[in-house]
């Protein structure tokens, strides 16, 4: 009764999509994943310190990368954020945090662009205290308000009207870790060497940039 061939065969219904998609998934997802995981590090890129690595976990847990990218594109408009990112910059970045949306600025080189710890603490406690038009959430749960600072406390000089009416704002360990991570986000300079240096990896993008919106 049942037609045994082609699209009226239940074995084909399962086997054909299964085999074709498995092959495509391996070819276009898994193999690029394996190959690019072997990318050599850009000279000068080193693993994070233990504290910065803990800070990165805070960054991930709070979902910072939904609004902040960590990828500088080889486009003129991105150069305010640093030099174009290259493949070797991401060797120690698992999970990757390139991001897909810039409701806030790119942070690839924020450690160089905003080296002030005090600024970072105030900004995390109340972004609008330093950038009045900012729409970033305030991360007050990363701080504690204490009547007096104890020895060793990192006191955050929050300006009025954002400072608490009584007591002092003290950074928790999570805030200190997070700021250590932000300070660690510094792009290493690329050596202008020719040949197979990581700089070569960025060159196709740089060449294409004029067609892609740069002038």
């Amino acid at each position: 009764m049942k037609s045994a061939s082609g699209m009226n065969n239940v074995v084909m219904l399962v086997a054909a999509p299964l085999v074709i998609y498995a092959v495509l998934a391996i070819a276009t997802g898994v193999i690029p994943g394996i190959e690019l995981s072997r990318t050599p590090a850009t000279p000068g890129v080193v693993p994070l310190s233990a504290q910065a690595a803990r800070g990165r976990e805070v960054y991930v847990g709070e979902g910072c990368s939904y609004c902040h990218t960590q990828q500088v594109r080889p486009l003129k408009e991105d150069l305010v954020f640093g030099r174009p990112s290259v493949a070797g910059d991401y060797v120690y970045d698992t999970p990757e945090l390139l991001g897909s949306e810039r409701n806030g600025p790119d942070l690839s080189d924020i450690g160089d662009r905003q080296p002030s710890e005090v600024w970072q603490y105030i900004h995390l406690y109340e972004p609008r205290a330093v950038v009045s038009e900012s729409i970033m959430p305030s991360y007050r749960w990363l701080f504690r308000i204490k009547p007096h600072a104890d020895p060793g406390d990192v006191v955050v000089p929050v300006p009025p009207p954002y400072s608490p009416p009584h007591g002092v704002v003290v950074a928790t360990a999570k805030a200190r870790d997070l700021v250590a991570y932000l300070k660690s986000l510094r792009q290493v300079p690329l050596r202008p060497a020719a040949g197979t240096s990581p700089a070569a990896a960025a060159s196709p993008g740089v060449r294409a940039a004029p067609g892609g919106g740069g002038r």
């Binding site: 037609s3 239940v10 276009t28 690029p32 690019l36 698992t94 991001g99």
Partner: protein
């Protein structure tokens, strides 16, 4: 023997009905919860100091909204429809309904555990649409495997000799997504930039190999059924199936254009993004030619308008995706809110409208209970106008963001430029949420409500007594 056969058959039909009802109610509860979350998120743009608790913060709620709408609402709603469609198109009741019940539990455990862990700041590294940690994802994958077995078992025992095209799309969706889920969840081969490549592959395929196939399968069944005429071209449906399958997996890297991923890999993704016009045009034309000349029937139905909007947004959203992938335009739109508008055009305008059309069109046939027509009308217009305002405002606001960056303005200028459009988006989002309340009200009347308007003629539901 004959008498017991008949009562067995009736019991099986009853089981199918209870499954459809349970899946729809479960999906509706997740729709309300996760779009309430989305609504709160939209108001955080104009009011960043709104609800500053860590458990209500933007960074934790955003993945709850995306994963919850994807896997708690849309996946469950469309799976409920898939069980009904595959059983009917096979001429048999669903095989092994116990598996379908177990799948419903797994879907809900995953959505609940996923939402709770994300709210505690526990996630799989901000990897969009796979933020759930691995053991949560395993529950979701288990739901897919259980569903697939029930679906394929039903097709294997079909009364017809042919396998209708909708069953190819619907069964295919589960096969693809099980493979996709396994590649996404295995951590050992993806590090650094390698994970970026896998992420591009995953996030795009999770939409186009899962929701697109489920929604197209629903359309291929519901549209001809409600219009009471055969699909215009079976061959176009077959063409769409195979071209979507072959073209789609390659295009994920277009989410990372201008990134350090190999340049040729990005170019390949763009080429295949253009190739996607083939299945999109094939599908849209097929549906449009099936609808042609039956507008009177569409006008008199409360279900068909949802499907028509779904077809329109399928074409608009997908062709927008192709255009957006071109490098010259990505240079302006990439990383802006334009992308957020695009994802709502497709996941909401296309996928969600098709799910609603499927539920309104098919559920009353098994429960014999019709929705409130005023609420259905309010649902339709508020959702359509709301999502159109949402997509329109973010398209304009996102373009302004991109142009501000291009002009080299200070970053905060792009925030200020987008601000009025974020307010418009919140207005659109509010309309969408009110539409969901109307839908929930109607789900109640189509399932648990005591009123049975046309209990005697359930077949008239959806297409209404046009004869």
């Amino acid at each position: 023997m004959a008498a017991s056969d008949a009562s067995e058959r009736a019991a099986e039909r009853d089981e199918d009905r209870r499954l459809f009802v349970a899946y729809t109610i479960s999906a509706t509860l997740w729709l309300l919860l996760t779009t309430a979350v989305g609504l709160l998120l939209s108001f955080k743009f104009p009011y960043p100091d709104l609800a500053t608790s860590p458990y209500l913060s933007f960074g934790r709620l955003r993945p709850i909204h995306t994963n919850g709408t994807f896997y708690g609402f849309a996946s469950v709603a469309l799976t409920g429809i898939a069980f009904y469609v595959v059983a009917r198109a096979s001429g048999r009741p669903l095989w092994a309904p116990k598996l379908a019940w177990a799948a419903l539990w797994c879907f809900n455990i995953a959505a609940l555990a996923g939402s709770v862990t994300l709210d505690l700041g526990i996630n799989n590294g901000d990897q969009e649409y796979r933020e759930w940690v691995w053991w949560v994802t395993l529950f979701f994958l288990a739901a897919l495997v259980l569903s697939l077995i029930a679906l394929v078992g039903t097709v294997a025992r079909r009364a017809e000799s042919d396998i209708y095209i909708s069953n190819w799309y619907l069964c295919g969706a589960y096969i693809f997504t099980i493979i996709l889920g396994i590649t996404a969840i295995l951590p050992w081969y993806q590090h650094g930039l390698g994970q970026v490549a896998v992420q591009g592959f995953y996030m795009h395929n999770a939409v186009g190999m899962w929701f697109t196939f489920l929604a197209l399968g629903t359309l291929y069944y519901a549209l001809p059924k409600l219009l009471n005429r055969p699909i215009y071209s079976y061959a176009l449906g077959v063409l769409g199936f195979w071209t979507n399958l072959v073209f789609y997996p390659v295009i994920g890297a277009h989410h990372f254009e201008f990134s350090p991923l190999p340049w040729w890999f990005q170019t390949l993704a763009i080429v295949f993004s253009v190739g996607m016009l083939v299945p999109v045009v094939a599908g849209t034309a097929n549906f449009a030619l099936t609808i042609r000349g039956r507008w009177e029937r569409v006008r008199r139905s409360y279900a068909l308008p949802f499907l028509v909007v779904g077809v329109a947004y399928y074409f608009l959203g997908s062709s927008q995706g192709t255009v957006e992938a071109l490098r010259s335009l990505q240079a302006v739109w990439h990383l802006t809110n334009f992308t957020v508008g695009h994802s709502h055009a497709t996941m909401y305008g296309f996928i969600t409208f098709v799910a609603w059309g499927g539920i309104y069109g098919l559920l009353p046939r098994v429960t014999g209970k019709e929705p409130n027509l005023l609420a259905a009308g309010l649902h339709f217009w508020l959702a359509l106008l709301g999502v159109t305002l949402y997509v329109g405002s973010l398209s304009v606001g996102g373009t302004l963001q991109g142009l501000d960056w291009l002009h080299g303005d200070p970053f905060i200028a792009s925030v200020e430029a987008a601000s009025p459009f974020w307010v418009a988006r919140a207005v659109g989002g509010s309309m969408m949420f009110v539409a969901h309340l109307c839908f929930a009200y109607n789900v109640y009347w189509m399932t648990l409500g005591r009123r049975a308007v046309h209990a005697a003629t359930p077949a008239a539901a959806g297409a209404q007594p046009a004869r």
